[in-house]
Protein backbone atom coordinates (compact mmCIF):
# COMPACT_ATOMS: atom_id res chain seq x y z
CA UNK A 1 0.00 0.00 0.00
CA UNK A 2 1.24 3.51 -0.78
CA UNK A 3 2.14 6.07 1.89
CA UNK A 4 -0.82 8.07 3.21
CA UNK A 5 -1.10 11.59 1.90
CA UNK A 6 -2.48 14.60 3.80
CA UNK A 7 -5.13 16.81 2.25
CA UNK A 8 -6.06 20.06 3.97
CA UNK A 9 -9.84 20.59 3.99
CA UNK A 10 -10.58 23.06 6.84
CA UNK A 11 -14.29 22.45 7.32
CA UNK A 12 -16.30 23.74 10.25
CA UNK A 13 -18.28 20.77 11.58
CA UNK A 14 -21.15 22.97 12.74
CA UNK A 15 -21.28 24.99 9.54
CA UNK A 16 -24.79 23.82 8.68
CA UNK A 17 -26.09 24.95 12.08
CA UNK A 18 -24.20 28.24 11.87
CA UNK A 19 -25.64 29.02 8.42
CA UNK A 20 -29.20 28.49 9.66
CA UNK A 21 -28.48 30.50 12.82
CA UNK A 22 -27.23 33.42 10.73
CA UNK A 23 -30.36 33.28 8.57
CA UNK A 24 -32.52 33.26 11.72
CA UNK A 25 -30.65 36.24 13.17
CA UNK A 26 -31.26 38.17 9.96
CA UNK A 27 -34.94 37.20 10.07
CA UNK A 28 -35.17 38.42 13.69
CA UNK A 29 -33.47 41.69 12.77
CA UNK A 30 -35.82 42.32 9.85
CA UNK A 31 -38.88 41.59 12.01
CA UNK A 32 -37.60 43.73 14.89
CA UNK A 33 -38.06 40.94 17.40
CA UNK A 34 -35.55 40.56 20.23
CA UNK A 35 -34.71 36.93 20.86
CA UNK A 36 -33.48 35.63 24.21
CA UNK A 37 -32.36 32.06 24.77
CA UNK A 38 -32.27 30.51 28.23
CA UNK A 39 -29.85 27.86 29.36
CA UNK A 40 -29.55 26.25 32.78
CA UNK A 41 -29.27 22.94 34.60
CA UNK A 42 -32.39 20.85 35.06
CA UNK A 43 -34.34 22.06 38.08
CA UNK A 44 -32.88 25.55 38.31
CA UNK A 45 -36.32 27.09 37.89
CA UNK A 46 -36.14 28.00 34.21
CA UNK A 47 -39.81 27.43 33.52
CA UNK A 48 -41.03 29.42 36.54
CA UNK A 49 -38.62 32.20 35.64
CA UNK A 50 -39.86 32.25 32.04
CA UNK A 51 -43.51 32.09 33.09
CA UNK A 52 -43.00 35.19 35.28
CA UNK A 53 -41.07 36.94 32.53
CA UNK A 54 -43.83 36.34 29.98
CA UNK A 55 -46.60 37.30 32.39
CA UNK A 56 -44.94 40.55 33.44
CA UNK A 57 -43.95 41.68 29.95
CA UNK A 58 -47.25 40.82 28.39
CA UNK A 59 -49.32 43.85 29.33
CA UNK A 60 -46.88 46.09 27.42
CA UNK A 61 -45.20 43.82 24.87
CA UNK A 62 -46.04 41.06 22.44
CA UNK A 63 -44.21 37.99 23.70
CA UNK A 64 -43.93 34.34 22.71
CA UNK A 65 -41.84 31.33 23.68
CA UNK A 66 -40.37 28.16 22.26
CA UNK A 67 -39.63 25.46 24.80
CA UNK A 68 -37.22 22.60 24.28
CA UNK A 69 -37.86 19.52 26.34
CA UNK A 70 -36.77 15.92 26.10
CA UNK A 71 -40.07 14.13 26.31
CA UNK A 72 -43.01 15.84 27.99
CA UNK A 73 -45.11 18.84 27.18
CA UNK A 74 -45.43 19.83 30.84
CA UNK A 75 -43.32 22.97 30.48
CA UNK A 76 -45.38 24.24 27.55
CA UNK A 77 -48.58 23.61 29.50
CA UNK A 78 -47.22 25.55 32.48
CA UNK A 79 -46.11 28.42 30.27
CA UNK A 80 -49.45 28.52 28.48
CA UNK A 81 -50.88 29.88 31.74
CA UNK A 82 -49.18 33.15 30.88
CA UNK A 83 -51.54 33.34 27.85
CA UNK A 84 -48.59 34.02 25.58
CA UNK A 85 -48.18 31.87 22.45
CA UNK A 86 -46.01 28.92 23.44
CA UNK A 87 -44.74 26.09 21.31
CA UNK A 88 -43.03 22.94 22.49
CA UNK A 89 -40.02 21.50 20.69
CA UNK A 90 -39.74 17.89 21.84
CA UNK A 91 -36.18 16.82 21.18
CA UNK A 92 -36.63 13.13 21.99
CA UNK A 93 -33.26 11.97 23.22
CA UNK A 94 -31.37 15.01 22.01
CA UNK A 95 -29.82 17.03 24.81
CA UNK A 96 -29.88 20.46 23.16
CA UNK A 97 -31.70 22.58 20.60
CA UNK A 98 -30.25 23.22 17.15
CA UNK A 99 -30.93 26.14 14.84
CA UNK A 100 -32.92 23.98 12.40
CA UNK A 101 -35.39 23.02 15.16
CA UNK A 102 -35.97 26.68 15.94
CA UNK A 103 -36.46 27.42 12.26
CA UNK A 104 -39.03 24.62 11.89
CA UNK A 105 -40.90 25.63 15.02
CA UNK A 106 -41.20 29.22 13.83
CA UNK A 107 -42.67 28.39 10.44
CA UNK A 108 -46.27 29.17 11.33
CA UNK A 109 -45.50 32.27 13.35
CA UNK A 110 -45.46 35.81 12.02
CA UNK A 111 -42.39 37.31 13.70
CA UNK A 112 -43.50 40.81 12.73
CA UNK A 113 -46.23 40.44 15.33
CA UNK A 114 -43.72 39.98 18.17
CA UNK A 115 -41.52 42.16 20.37
CA UNK A 116 -39.83 39.40 22.36
CA UNK A 117 -39.27 35.75 21.60
CA UNK A 118 -37.86 33.49 24.31
CA UNK A 119 -36.24 30.16 23.55
CA UNK A 120 -35.94 27.82 26.51
CA UNK A 121 -33.21 25.29 25.81
CA UNK A 122 -33.18 21.76 27.21
CA UNK A 123 -32.00 21.75 30.86
CA UNK A 124 -28.29 21.09 30.33
CA UNK A 125 -25.19 23.17 30.95
CA UNK A 126 -22.92 21.33 28.54
CA UNK A 127 -24.33 20.59 25.11
CA UNK A 128 -26.26 23.80 24.29
CA UNK A 129 -23.03 25.80 24.40
CA UNK A 130 -21.92 24.53 20.98
CA UNK A 131 -25.03 25.58 19.09
CA UNK A 132 -25.83 29.08 17.93
CA UNK A 133 -29.62 29.47 17.68
CA UNK A 134 -29.55 32.92 16.11
CA UNK A 135 -30.53 34.47 19.44
CA UNK A 136 -29.66 38.09 20.27
CA UNK A 137 -29.00 37.38 23.93
CA UNK A 138 -28.04 34.17 25.69
CA UNK A 139 -29.07 34.14 29.32
CA UNK A 140 -27.64 31.58 31.71
CA UNK A 141 -29.72 30.88 34.76
CA UNK A 142 -28.54 29.37 38.02
CA UNK A 143 -30.31 29.11 41.33
CA UNK A 144 -28.86 29.79 44.79
CA UNK A 145 -29.39 26.11 45.66
CA UNK A 146 -26.89 24.95 43.03
CA UNK A 147 -23.68 26.14 44.67
CA UNK A 148 -21.53 29.18 44.09
CA UNK A 149 -18.93 27.34 42.00
CA UNK A 150 -21.29 26.28 39.21
CA UNK A 151 -19.72 28.75 36.75
CA UNK A 152 -16.28 27.22 37.39
CA UNK A 153 -17.66 23.75 36.74
CA UNK A 154 -19.28 24.81 33.47
CA UNK A 155 -17.04 27.59 32.18
CA UNK A 156 -17.90 27.03 28.50
CA UNK A 157 -21.61 27.73 28.83
CA UNK A 158 -21.08 30.72 31.14
CA UNK A 159 -18.46 32.06 28.77
CA UNK A 160 -20.80 31.69 25.79
CA UNK A 161 -23.64 33.54 27.55
CA UNK A 162 -24.26 37.29 27.63
CA UNK A 163 -25.97 37.71 30.99
CA UNK A 164 -26.34 35.62 34.12
CA UNK A 165 -29.41 35.41 36.33
CA UNK A 166 -29.20 33.98 39.84
CA UNK A 167 -32.66 33.01 40.94
CA UNK A 168 -34.51 31.50 43.91
CA UNK A 169 -33.04 34.29 46.02
CA UNK A 170 -35.83 33.70 48.55
CA UNK A 171 -33.88 30.57 49.55
CA UNK A 172 -30.48 32.27 49.78
CA UNK A 173 -30.38 32.52 53.56
CA UNK A 174 -31.63 28.97 54.11
CA UNK A 175 -28.91 27.49 51.89
CA UNK A 176 -26.24 29.96 53.11
CA UNK A 177 -25.62 31.18 49.60
CA UNK A 178 -22.42 33.22 49.39
CA UNK A 179 -23.11 35.96 46.85
CA UNK A 180 -19.55 37.28 46.72
CA UNK A 181 -18.10 33.84 45.89
CA UNK A 182 -20.72 33.30 43.19
CA UNK A 183 -20.06 36.73 41.71
CA UNK A 184 -16.31 36.03 41.65
CA UNK A 185 -16.86 32.65 39.94
CA UNK A 186 -18.86 34.28 37.17
CA UNK A 187 -16.40 37.13 36.82
CA UNK A 188 -13.57 34.62 36.50
CA UNK A 189 -15.03 32.74 33.52
CA UNK A 190 -16.77 35.72 31.93
CA UNK A 191 -15.21 39.05 32.97
CA UNK A 192 -17.65 41.96 32.92
CA UNK A 193 -20.77 39.82 32.64
CA UNK A 194 -24.00 41.49 33.75
CA UNK A 195 -25.54 39.58 36.66
CA UNK A 196 -29.10 39.79 38.00
CA UNK A 197 -29.94 38.33 41.37
CA UNK A 198 -33.67 37.85 41.85
CA UNK A 199 -36.55 35.71 42.92
CA UNK A 200 -39.01 34.69 40.22
CA UNK A 201 -41.28 33.32 42.91
CA UNK A 202 -41.63 36.44 45.08
CA UNK A 203 -40.94 38.90 42.26
CA UNK A 204 -37.98 40.42 44.12
CA UNK A 205 -35.70 42.38 41.73
CA UNK A 206 -37.55 41.14 38.63
CA UNK A 207 -38.03 44.79 37.70
CA UNK A 208 -34.42 45.67 36.94
CA UNK A 209 -34.03 42.53 34.85
CA UNK A 210 -37.19 43.31 32.84
CA UNK A 211 -36.06 46.93 32.37
CA UNK A 212 -32.79 45.57 31.03
CA UNK A 213 -34.66 43.45 28.45
CA UNK A 214 -36.71 46.45 27.34
CA UNK A 215 -33.52 48.50 26.90
CA UNK A 216 -32.05 45.68 24.84
CA UNK A 217 -35.13 45.63 22.62
CA UNK A 218 -34.84 49.37 22.02
CA UNK A 219 -31.14 49.11 21.14
CA UNK A 220 -31.82 46.14 18.88
CA UNK A 221 -34.41 48.11 16.95
CA UNK A 222 -32.28 51.25 16.79
CA UNK A 223 -29.46 49.25 15.20
CA UNK A 224 -31.86 47.44 12.88
CA UNK A 225 -33.45 50.75 11.78
CA UNK A 226 -37.00 49.70 12.47
Amino acid sequence: MSEPRMIEVRRNVLKQNDVIARALREQFRAAGVFVVSLVSSPGSGKTTFLEKTLTQLQPRYRVAALVGDLATENDALRLARSKAPVKQITTGTLCHLEAAMVQNALQEWDLNQLDFLFIENVGNLVCPSSYDLGENLRLVLMSVTEGEDKPLKYPTIFNSADVAVITKNELAVAVEFDWETARRSIESVRPGMRIFRLSAKTGEAMGSYLDFLVEQLKEHRAVAHI
Partner: protein
Protein backbone atom coordinates in the same frame (compact mmCIF):
# COMPACT_ATOMS: atom_id res chain seq x y z
CA UNK B 1 -23.89 14.14 25.61
CA UNK B 2 -24.02 15.56 22.11
CA UNK B 3 -20.72 14.11 20.93
CA UNK B 4 -22.45 11.44 18.83
CA UNK B 5 -24.22 14.02 16.70
CA UNK B 6 -20.96 15.99 16.42
CA UNK B 7 -19.16 12.78 15.38
CA UNK B 8 -21.81 12.14 12.74
CA UNK B 9 -21.25 15.67 11.46
CA UNK B 10 -17.50 14.97 11.23
CA UNK B 11 -18.10 11.73 9.32
CA UNK B 12 -20.52 13.48 6.97
CA UNK B 13 -18.12 16.36 6.27
CA UNK B 14 -15.13 14.06 5.76
CA UNK B 15 -17.10 11.68 3.52
CA UNK B 16 -18.21 14.56 1.34
CA UNK B 17 -14.69 15.95 0.99
CA UNK B 18 -13.31 12.47 0.21
CA UNK B 19 -15.93 11.76 -2.43
CA UNK B 20 -15.26 15.08 -4.12
CA UNK B 21 -11.63 14.04 -4.52
CA UNK B 22 -12.22 10.33 -5.14
CA UNK B 23 -9.99 9.22 -2.26
CA UNK B 24 -10.16 6.71 0.60
CA UNK B 25 -9.78 8.25 4.07
CA UNK B 26 -7.57 6.52 6.62
CA UNK B 27 -7.62 9.28 9.24
CA UNK B 28 -9.43 12.52 9.97
CA UNK B 29 -7.57 15.37 11.67
CA UNK B 30 -9.75 17.55 13.84
CA UNK B 31 -8.95 20.83 15.57
CA UNK B 32 -10.88 20.95 18.83
CA UNK B 33 -11.05 24.18 20.83
CA UNK B 34 -11.14 24.13 24.63
CA UNK B 35 -14.30 26.27 24.40
CA UNK B 36 -16.02 24.15 21.75
CA UNK B 37 -18.21 22.46 24.35
CA UNK B 38 -17.15 19.02 23.10
CA UNK B 39 -15.52 16.37 25.29
CA UNK B 40 -12.62 14.69 23.51
CA UNK B 41 -12.93 11.19 25.00
CA UNK B 42 -16.66 11.03 24.34
CA UNK B 43 -16.03 12.23 20.80
CA UNK B 44 -13.37 9.57 20.12
CA UNK B 45 -15.73 6.88 21.36
CA UNK B 46 -18.63 8.28 19.34
CA UNK B 47 -16.52 8.49 16.21
CA UNK B 48 -16.16 4.73 15.96
CA UNK B 49 -19.91 4.32 16.24
CA UNK B 50 -20.59 7.10 13.74
CA UNK B 51 -18.23 5.53 11.18
CA UNK B 52 -19.97 2.19 11.11
CA UNK B 53 -21.44 1.32 7.70
CA UNK B 54 -19.98 4.43 6.11
CA UNK B 55 -17.02 4.78 3.69
CA UNK B 56 -15.02 5.97 6.72
CA UNK B 57 -15.41 2.72 8.67
CA UNK B 58 -12.06 1.75 10.19
CA UNK B 59 -10.59 5.24 9.89
CA UNK B 60 -9.01 7.03 12.85
CA UNK B 61 -9.90 10.37 14.38
CA UNK B 62 -6.84 12.40 15.37
CA UNK B 63 -7.67 15.32 17.63
CA UNK B 64 -5.49 18.37 17.98
CA UNK B 65 -6.42 20.29 21.15
CA UNK B 66 -6.59 24.03 20.61
CA UNK B 67 -6.13 26.07 23.79
CA UNK B 68 -7.97 29.33 24.41
CA UNK B 69 -6.08 32.41 23.32
CA UNK B 70 -7.15 35.88 24.37
CA UNK B 71 -5.91 39.30 23.41
CA UNK B 72 -4.66 41.31 26.36
CA UNK B 73 -5.35 45.01 25.85
CA UNK B 74 -2.71 45.93 28.42
CA UNK B 75 0.15 43.82 27.02
CA UNK B 76 -1.12 44.33 23.45
CA UNK B 77 -0.37 40.65 22.90
CA UNK B 78 -2.23 37.45 22.25
CA UNK B 79 -1.88 35.11 25.24
CA UNK B 80 -2.73 31.47 25.86
CA UNK B 81 -4.99 31.01 28.91
CA UNK B 82 -3.64 28.68 31.54
CA UNK B 83 -7.18 27.66 32.56
CA UNK B 84 -10.63 28.08 31.05
CA UNK B 85 -11.78 28.89 34.57
CA UNK B 86 -9.86 32.15 34.63
CA UNK B 87 -10.16 34.61 31.79
CA UNK B 88 -7.20 36.72 32.82
CA UNK B 89 -3.97 37.54 31.06
CA UNK B 90 -1.39 35.01 32.36
CA UNK B 91 1.30 37.73 32.25
CA UNK B 92 -0.29 40.83 33.77
CA UNK B 93 -3.48 39.45 35.36
CA UNK B 94 -5.91 41.75 33.56
CA UNK B 95 -9.35 40.19 32.97
CA UNK B 96 -10.13 39.93 29.27
CA UNK B 97 -12.96 38.51 27.18
CA UNK B 98 -11.36 39.13 23.80
CA UNK B 99 -11.22 35.48 22.71
CA UNK B 100 -9.11 34.96 19.61
CA UNK B 101 -8.91 31.17 19.54
CA UNK B 102 -10.42 28.15 21.28
CA UNK B 103 -13.88 27.65 19.79
CA UNK B 104 -12.65 25.53 16.88
CA UNK B 105 -14.51 22.43 15.80
CA UNK B 106 -12.93 21.96 12.45
CA UNK B 107 -12.09 19.05 10.17
CA UNK B 108 -8.64 20.29 9.35
CA UNK B 109 -7.16 17.60 7.12
CA UNK B 110 -7.69 14.09 5.80
CA UNK B 111 -5.12 11.35 5.57
CA UNK B 112 -5.92 9.47 2.39
CA UNK B 113 -4.85 6.44 0.42
CA UNK B 114 -4.69 6.96 -3.34
Amino acid sequence: MHELSIAMGIVEAATEEAQKRGVQVSAVHLRLGALSGVVKDALLFSYEVACQDTPLAGSRLIVEDVPVAVFCPQCQEQRILTSVQAFICPECGLPTMDVRQGKELEVFALEVQE
